[in-house]
């Protein structure tokens, strides 16, 4: 590989990107727009779940229960229901996605046994929301429980710990504020870099074919490796800049805590960008029209990275065959590396598995990309 040739190609490519509005837009505007869309648009937090209450008891105690739910901030009181039949109506009309039923003997049972049951009814049309709402309800109940336990213990002259029935509290690690943004944003950065990177290089070879400059280029002694190295260089710089922008926004704008090591972040990000650019280059070699190459690059990066990278949908919840497929979705390795770095402060040793995945992806993709190009017209 000759440095002179690589440089000549890199300089030429940089000039072309600089003068091509479309490439510039992909390089600079796309990450920004996606960050806004994905960063703000995708949030798994559901606040103020509309709650209807059917209070059969109508006591001071039962009102305290309702207040406990509402004051948690997770629910807002939509309506008080007068009877059993009203529950179905309220659900059907989407007036609420959860109904809290307080039985008529709630206070009596609580006073006698220290235990009482609340009934929670959830609209399970949207499973995801329901799960979250159920989690919230469990949290609200647990808070109530501890208040009531303390009261009961005091009333019967016991210490709270002797009451026994301490339910499992839903506890959260790493994302103490239960803010899904902290979980989502690192994934968003990975998705954006995967999309933008593949878009950038998907045009680089197809542009030469489309404009007819390829025939001249391959009649020169330039080697396929020099061509690839030269062509990837300017996009690598752009990719690093895009990564710095996205990661900076994650830390300083979205305020996702960063607990890891900056040099580890740099090395892994650089490696990921190389993989992503190599993939776009591979597509560009295979598809000779710019439009086709960019469409294919979008298609084959967007769906797998959003669905199978673990960025929103947990991979360990997927059936084994799908999990197996996700092994080739190289973005998943970077998603876990970023999450580890951001939320857990993982070091290189902790990240060995996803890092190995990323390295293997880099080797395979760059090898394929280097081999795919032939200096021939037939």
């Amino acid at each position: 590989m000759n440095g002179r040739r690589v440089r000549a190609i890199a300089v030429k490519e940089a000039l072309q990107v600089w003068r091509d509005p479309r490439s510039l837009a992909v390089a600079l505007l796309m990450p920004f727009m996606q960050l806004v869309l994905l960063g703000y648009g995708v949030s798994l937090d559901i606040k103020h779940v509309p709650l209807c209450v059917y209070d059969q008891e109508m006591s001071q105690q039962s009102r305290a229960v309702v207040d406990g739910f509402v004051s948690s901030g997770w629910f807002r009181l939509a309506r008080a229901l007068p009877n059993e039949a009203a529950i179905r109506t309220a659900m059907n009309r989407d007036q609420c996605s959860a109904v809290l039923v307080i039985p008529a003997d709630f206070s009596r049972r609580l006073a006698m046994t220290g235990r009482a049951t609340l009934q929670g009814i959830f609209d399970a049309t949207d499973v995801n929301t329901t799960n979250i709402a159920m989690g919230y309800a469990a949290g609200a109940t647990a808070q109530l429980q501890s208040t009531f336990e303390a009261k009961y213990a005091a009333a019967h002259g016991l210490t709270p710990s002797a009451v026994g029935s301490v339910d499992l509290e839903p506890s959260t690690w790493f994302n103490e504020t239960l803010d899904s943004r902290n979980f989502i944003i690192p994934g968003v950065v990975a998705v954006i870099l995967a999309l933008v990177g593949a878009q950038l290089t998907s045009l680089t070879i197809s542009r030469e074919w489309e404009r007819g400059t390829m025939e001249q280029l391959i009649s020169t002694p330039v080697t396929t490796l020099e061509l690839m190295a030269g062509k990837l260089t300017p996009y690598f710089v752009i990719g690093l800049a895009d990564a710095a922008f996205c990661l900076g926004a994650a830390i300083f704008w979205f305020k996702v805590p960063f607990r890891g090591d900056v040099s580890t972040l740099f090395v892994t990000t650089a490696l990921f960008i190389l993989v992503v650019l190599g993939f776009g280059y591979l597509i560009s070699v295979r598809v000779r029209s710019q439009l086709g190459a960019s469409q294919i690059a979008l298609l084959v990066t967007l769906l797998p990275t959003t669905l199978l990278s673990g960025y929103t949908f947990p991979l360990d919840q997927m059936p084994a065959p799908i999990r197996a497929i996700s092994l080739v979705v190289y973005a998943r390795y970077y998603v876990s590396i970023l999450r580890g770095l951001f939320l857990k402060g993982s070091g290189l040793a902790d990240l060995a598995a996803p890092l190995a995945g990323l390295c293997v992806s880099a080797l395979i993709i760059l090898w394929l990309a280097a081999r795919a190009f032939h200096k021939r017209l037939d």
Partner: protein, 318 residues
């Protein structure tokens, strides 16, 4: 490549695409410093042959060496010794003149100490002084072609393959381009240039007539014009042309006849019919005859004549 090796050796070179034979067993040897013209209509196989010689297409059969290297097995060695101008303009339109030159200089690893002088030479040769920083896409055709030639010779290749370098260029620029070709040839550069302009063939040391993938004649322009016709060429102004052609073709002593613009070109065997005889035949058929005179043949006459004759042995040995 020492001075006695031929620059280009083509041996029964063949290229087929599916069931279409684009190049059909062409054999040809080009000595160092020669300017050889590939002449033939569009689609005759000129570009395909040149692309095989650059190592861009793999020959289906036969072989070729350029600068002593086999085009199929050592394409990279070949590429270090050639400059190539493809048929379609293929410089970077969004780059300036200087940026294009610098790019190709880098690709060909022109030594840094030579860079400035080579680029200056190319700019001067192309007549692009003062336009060094203009984006190439805004240049007129002739300038673009000369710049493309400039880019192809930056590394001083001993052999140049030029594929229809003057197509679509105004006549003045075409002549200027051929002056450049001859300047390069005077420096010892071997040049194989294709064109479909018959008049340009006159500028070549030797010409190879190509039709339907086959080499149908090879020789100096003078030799081809002198020997290939096999008779005397007569130009006759007459009307109507169609009937005249039918009548004269059937006449004894007429070797060939073809419509040439608004006239007939008729080849008569030496010592056969004279001008009077020809006029008589036409007049007897009720055809109006104007001027009739013996003319020296152009290459186009030769080409038409040879294509019509369909020789069983391509004139490779000529």
């Amino acid at each position: 490549m020492n001075s006695s090796t031929p620059a280009v050796v083509v041996d029964r070179l063949t290229k087929t695409f599916d069931d279409f034979t684009a190049v059909d067993g062409i054999t040809l040897t080009i000595g160092q410093g020669e300017v050889v013209g590939f002449i033939g209509p569009n689609g005759a196989g000129k570009s395909t042959t040149l692309r095989m010689l650059c190592g861009l297409l793999t020959p289906t059969a036969g072989r070729a060496t350029v600068a002593g290297y086999d085009v199929a097995r050592e394409p990279e060695k070949v590429r270090q010794n050639i400059g190539y101008m493809s048929q379609k303009f293929s410089l970077y339109g969004d780059l300036t003149v200087r940026e294009n030159l610098r790019f190709f200089a880098g690709i060909y690893r022109v030594r840094r100490e030579d860079l400035a002088s080579r680029m200056e030479f190319a700019i001067r040769m192309a007549g692009l002084e003062g336009r060094e920083d203009v984006q190439v896409t805004t240049l007129a055709g002739g300038w673009k072609q000369r710049l493309a030639l400039g880019c192809a010779i930056l590394h001083r290749p001993p052999i140049l393959f030029l594929d229809e370098p003057t197509s679509g260029v105004e006549p003045e620029a075409r002549r200027r381009f051929w002056d450049l070709i001859h300047e390069l040839a005077a420096d010892g550069v071997t040049i194989l240039v294709s064109t479909h302009y018959m008049d340009e063939a006159e500028y070549c040391n030797r010409i190879a007539l190509i039709n339907q993938g086959r080499l149908i004649a090879l020789g100096t322009p003078r030799a081809l014009k002198g020997s290939r016709l096999g008779g005397q060429l007569v130009e006759i102004a007459c009307a109507p042309l169609g009937r005249a052609l039918a009548r004269i073709s059937a006449a004894a002593g007429v070797l060939d006849a073809a419509i040439f613009g608004d006239r007939l070109h008729v080849v008569v065997s030496e010592g056969g019919l004279d001008l009077g005889g020809l006029r008589q035949i036409l007049a007897d058929g009720g055809i109006q005859v104007g001027e009739a005179r013996a003319v020296s043949p152009s290459l186009e006459d030769v080409f038409v004549r040879i294509v019509a004759r369909k020789p069983d042995v391509p004139g490779a040995a000529a």
